[in-house]
Point group: C2
Chain length 244, copies 2
Amino acid sequence: MTADEALTGSEKDGLYKAIFSRRDVRSRFVDREIPDDILLRILNAAHHAPSVGFSQPWNFILIKNITTRHKVKESFVKERERSISMLDGEEERQKRYASLKLEGILESAINICVTYDPSRFGPFVLGRTSIEETGVYSVACAIQNLWLAARAEGVGVGWVSILANKDLEQILAIPPHVKPVAYLCLGYVSEFADKPDLERVGWLPRMDLSNVVCYEKWGVHQSEPWSALCDALGKMKSRREDNI
Amino acid sequence: MTADEALTGSEKDGLYKAIFSRRDVRSRFVDREIPDDILLRILNAAHHAPSVGFSQPWNFILIKNITTRHKVKESFVKERERSISMLDGEEERQKRYASLKLEGILESAINICVTYDPSRFGPFVLGRTSIEETGVYSVACAIQNLWLAARAEGVGVGWVSILANKDLEQILAIPPHVKPVAYLCLGYVSEFADKPDLERVGWLPRMDLSNVVCYEKWGVHQSEPWSALCDALGKMKSRREDNI
């Protein structure tokens, strides 16, 4: 490839559109199959994620079987109940939590369990010798690729995290050395919402970017060599406030 | 937004181009500053990653200071030595490892340490009550967004994982409750290589997608309801072999 390698304007727009309009979909699945060629493009995008030492430690278990899905749904129901009981004493929040639709296990076209296999090309994995967790981080990067490619194809993805991993391991016959990382529901949707559900219903606000950026050290939010960037971040913030 | 929400052809091309041509850059940084507006676009893309319970648990510590970078480089040198010694008795692999350039801490335009703050909007984080690790997975998703946006802007990213987190915590004044997730080097590059470095030098091969896809349960690589997809995956594999 050549030296100046930025993408073209419309190519960049495509990436940013996928990033900004990606949603965690729980309630808008429609009854329509995902064609094999599209599913393969989505999986291939995941498979081209970065991985520590090029270890590619992921697997994708594709699930259509309805009995399997009912078992996973049971795990969700049980874990959700447990989670709601953790809000005992915070009645308002508890009621709001209970009103949220948090998964589309049965309504989506397919489910995918993404797993991490630390033994892949191991035991010595280049670059994983100091920080063991970089292996599972690679799998999370693959999930984000999958999610963006699905969005580009018009396919919604919902990540169901209210599940017991021990249930998933048993239901999907996952061996002890392999770790479930995500349980995803994929399908076409009636629409992608303008904002994340939890932002829309007022569960939590989107933070300003300026609040998550530090300079040179943790917790430093102003710094001379970075003053132009600080100013630009401040302007982004006021633009956002204008929009509300 | 309307019902049929796939991106257009050229928008999709942009996303896939970013995904397939993204590289872990260690040795091709050029001496050129990243303009603030481009850096902000890259950071804003990261900030729009999915996060469990909309908790947005990430921080981005931007680093230019050369003294700081030298300290981080020292940690790298020490951890790399330790890693090489783990290959004692495998002389060939050890020599090959030692010949690899694995970081661009000093040569890149800036470094970014991405951290995970589990206390953000906590202690109760919706969706994090069953699988605690979903918090740190959100941060890895943000890193992948950052990486793809950087690629789209023509900016290379290298993830330095051969570091001791305790060194990073000390050098960057990261408090005990916050966890460093990634140490990234960003800068313009002379080129993005056609293949990942570790694939190009023959350290490890790219796996066939068919080998990381299972059907209905772990380890099942053939399944009747999935036979058309199995066939399509097999054809992808033979197309790849034709290309070698």
